[in-house]
Amino acid sequence: MNSIEVINLTKRFGKFTAVDNVSFNVGKGEVFGFLGANGSGKSTTIRMLCGIIVPTSGEASVNGFNILHEPEKVKANIGYMSQKFSLYGDLSVEENINFFGGIYGLSQSRLTDRKNWVLQMSGLTERRKTLSAQLSVGFKQRLALGCAVLHEPAIVFLDEPTGGVDPISRRNFWKLINELSASGTTVFVTTHNLDEAEFCNRIILLDYGKIVATGSPKELKSEFIKNGMLFLESDDVYTAYELLEKHRLVHNASIFGNALHVSLSDAASLEDNAAEAIRAFLESNGIKVAGIRSIVPSLEDVFLETIEKPASDD
């Protein structure tokens, strides 16, 4: 059984379609990444799946329960960490845990167990009496995650859980996510940070409410960047970009600082040395190429590929 099944889910706000006919499945224990730029509809999707808002059309089941007809059962089986830090800042770490434990109906002994677990996993055992408003963002997020999974839900929804934290806290947080997943919890996580998506088992790329790509990070890369990618350094990346965009060996190019990421076209795969051909082409047009080499594409490259594809198809 899939943890989450979504069929043609759509949400409109007035005339604006925030989530557009989205379908996907999430397997049990998967870390499922929901990627997209700000405003692409990630939070809206999560909020429909958690029963906070009602979809305009479409269906979904979460842990086998229909989100429209059995919202109470859905709620008993999920944890949710919203995009905002949503614990009580004027309650201490421990009081927050007690409150949410009570709300989830944990027995006293189970609450004690789970409280210790949360304090330990968040590294807050010593600071259990601290008001949570006084914690750093990284600690707040770990505490929020702890409170969201106090009742050991089958599925946990994390909406941009690592927004605004330093890289170390972020890595620690992803460690926790992996532990949860290893213990059988399905983790549905949204992010607009493409580096993070590499940690997911499977991802969906969302753009303007529509799914533009889905698969494991590896699958996505080989699907969208079939013919390899070049890293090209130049003094004049803008002119190089304009020239290369229309070149027959190039599928797509994007500017990264003073370099270009160039994904190669099908024609390039027949070429013996596409990189040298491209260098020669640029230099014949008076552009100096400081370096050119093959690289492993990142998900960011995939993302740029997918959103620029309609233009290059035309």
């Binding site: 958690c50 808002i53 004027d90 309650l91 007690n98 009570g102 989830y104």
Partner: protein, 376 residues
Amino acid sequence: MRAIIDFMVKEFLQFLRDPKMFAVVLIAPVIQLVFLGYAANRDLNDVKTCILDNDRSNSSRDFISAFEKSGYFSVIQYSENYSELEREIDLGNALIAIVIPDDFEKNMNSGKTSNVQVIFDGSDGNKASVAAGYVMSVASSYGSKIFIERFEKSGIKVPPAGSIESVTRVWYNPDLTTRDFMLPSIVGLVLIIITVNMTSLAIVKEREIGTLEQLLVTPVKPYQLILGKLLPFTVIGLVAVTLVLAVMIFWFGIEVKGSISFLFFCSLIFMLSTLGLGLFVSTVSKSQQQAMVTSAFLVIMPMIFLSGFAFPIESMPKIIQYVTYIIPLKYFTVIIRGIVLKGLTIADLWLELSILFLLGVVILVFSSLRFKKSME
């Protein structure tokens, strides 16, 4: 049940840690009370009076001396005729003028009602109505059947309903102090301000910081959420009532004639409305600031103006008078004045209490449904 208790614990912890809230609840009522207690002291002790005695009988002289002895009036002129008296009022030398008809003694002796005219300088309505109270008081203590016809300076007859109200008022407040009359109703005012503000703020705050959304994803039922929010503020409301009563009794020396526990019971019934209104405000406010403004302008001010707390209902336009029937504070003001000043019990107040209860249930149910809907 457990969830509701957890809610209450949480709410109290947050309340105790929020110095702002603390101030709203514990200090504001006391300040309001003391301030209003002194401001409401509108009593006059030297009402400048002209008297035109058209009867010049023993009875009329008796009547006049009752005024002189009451201590409220100082007679500045025994007028010879109507125009002389009128001039004193016009010049502002006298606040009131009393005109005794020439058949005063005759009517007295034959047991008929005598019509005594009282003319007021209406330019200061407050003063005039306090003075009117005194006239009623003296007239009624004089005992015989005297009908007081009130006239404003302009010659416009003030509806007798007003004078009847004044009679009852004097009756139950023999010292004629406006303070005694005003202070008990401050219980209602304080309850409104505290519960409407706090309830709406507490809920909107959770929406602002995102915890409300978090709660929506838990198995908590909307009714648990509502009770978890409202019960703590009920308790806090009762604490505020206690405070107000304590200041009233020990500071201002107003004795509660009726049962204190009945008073608390009525306060609880009244809070159905105020908590419901707080809940309502939370459903129409996006920010805490908006909630405060909405509370003030949509709930608290109309309540104060339309309840008879600040202005007598009888002096409002007819249409507005009908509106006052749905103002909970109107009934609570009657109830609380009744209990404190007259020692009334449920036998006297059951009607007001029933209406208050019904209004409360309607408001609370309506707001709860709205709240539930706003969460979906």
